[in-house]
Amino acid sequence: MTYTRKRGMDAWLFMTPYTLSFAAFILVPVLVSLTLAFMQFDLTSRNSIQFVGTRNFSDALKDDYFWQALKATLFFVVLMVPCMITTGLAMAFGMNAMTRGRNTVRALLFLPGMLNVAVASILWGWFYNGEFGLFNYLLKGWGFAPKPWLSDRSWAMPSAVGMNLWWAVGGTSVVLLAALQQIPRSIFEAAVLDGAGNSALLNRISLPLLRPVMLFVVVTNTIAGFQVFGPTFLLTRGGPELSTRALVQYIYETAFNNYRLGYGAAMSWLLFAVVATFALVQYRFLKRSVA
């Protein structure tokens, strides 16, 4: 056996475990869901399973609840992503400027992200409780009126975003901090010698050099935002009046409460199309500005 051939075989051997698990847990389910999307597949009526072409897709596009859920999801993304980026960035700059205790602060900020989403949501559910919650207790103590954090249509989604921010911003800020620390100090020193102020350092050096990582952070947060399920489902169950029912929750309820797997699969492919479109647009837009 030649050396090149042996190396090739070694590579395949190393890749086999992942390839097998990828095929079993990603590829096959994706193919199954793609097949299901073109079928009428109701678990409670298995004798009526049949191929229906694109009917599930056209039904979804005519379904008011689909659009309502997509709107709620978009609202979450539009609120969450900018908040996540600005907060994460501010925290990264803060930590970068620290001379002592940076590692401790970084660990503490990262800590909430290590909690399971169910734990974080239940905790924040109590914080948001209208009668006995921490936030309204503090508001009352400061002389303000209590807020209907989760029980009012206009408050519920921002409240869910707030919880998500607390839970996930640590990860984003750590990634941005790592990128910030990669920028050579000599560039800043040269700029300062040339008379650059703080604003110029931020806008002309830090932010432009952070753009490649920002691209990654924005795209991954957008994708995660479109896939939101845990925070909204566990905090509000999608209420009030479905104002926080995200598309993934609607898909879950369709497939696993109503047992309409075909329709659920079709909606999940539509969600995939939306996410892919947004991610590609963001990628192209930000990549152009990086270049």
């Binding site: 009428q40 409670t44 009526s45 049949q50 009668e131 029980s151 009046e241 309820e253 047992y259």
Partner: protein
Amino acid sequence: MGAKTSLFLLALLAVILGFARSDFSVSSHHKLHIDFWNGWTGPDGRVALEMIRQFNQENPDVEVSMQRMEWGTYYNKLMVAEVDGRGPAVFVIHASTLPRMEQAGFLADVRDMFEGPRALPTSDFDDYVLNQVKYDQTYVGVPLDIHPQGLYCNADMLKQAGFVDANGNARAPENKEEFVRAIKSMQKLDASGHPDTWGFALTLWRNNFQALIPQFDGRYMDESGNADLDCKGNVEALEFLSSLEKQHLVPPPENGLGWVGYRQKKVAMVWDGVYMLGDLKRLEDMPYIGAPIPVLGHHAGTMADSHVLCIQKTMSPERRDAAERFIRFLSEHSIQWAGAGQVPARKSVRNSAEFAKMPVQYAFSKQIPTMMYPPRTHILFELSLEIDLAVEKVMRGRATPDEALKVANKNCQTFIDRDRRERQAKP
């Protein structure tokens, strides 16, 4: 500790565990294993566990093991397990969810349990309840209990408001006039003029509304199985609930008070299921009484449902016999189950002196002749969601009862039509 000693101890541990495991296998090898699934994750589960222990002791050839899950995910897991042929031997489902499980073909015909020398006498069950498990001439389960919605009152607050009987005990309001008077007299304002204690609060809005549907002669569907959510009775029932909100007799919708407020003694009365009794029993200083929901419509009535014991379709005759023995045991010992906060489905148990000593369960059981179950439909989840949305819109003042129920009715009819079309479709 040296490496050799560590290895020796590990090996010893493995041998001990191995023996323990093999002992367990040997001891349970000759037993018929019956896995029993349900959603009794609260105090009711502990009572069920006690009953299972007793059954296992009395039936040494059978070993029943129970698995409890939250109702929210229970049905998903049950459905998937059944589809895959790994479903439990015995499982509990609500009477309202029977149509979907029956349509899926997962429920064994248990007609033999109501026939023969060891039969559960059909006359010992209410016809209305037994009809819930009847499909054509077959029975697909055995009703274990009935859980109606009823009225929970804080006895101390009632007494202070003057609602007492001849013996000086707290007395629950029985009609609309008394109910509204009780709400008003038990509402207390704080220094700023806002209610600090409420006379009444809604709990699960949908259930509260559904509890009133029979009182106003409302219904979910017409005789042909088409949606009839916007019928006159339903609109009247929702108008009554809405009037309570408009008169500020219940906390505003954004307020979280409900069952929690009742537990905290910030609310004097609530409507909820008899199963909430287990939660109340845990509170040491809670003076509560249970009563039927007052007559607020044209006559008495409430909403109810039942836990139904079902059997897996494909089982060996031996396991099937053991499963039936277990179900018969639970049914015959349902007075113990009543202690968990349930009303037994068996009339003979309800007529016993022991049951009469359970004041809340006994009071709630008086509603059985006028109770109404959710409709027998395959679209139960979607229908429930539409009712939820309609009640929510009305209580938040975003639609009138008539408008909200018309939208709910239209949507439900769409779901019914789709369900009919899809079930009739042949591959």
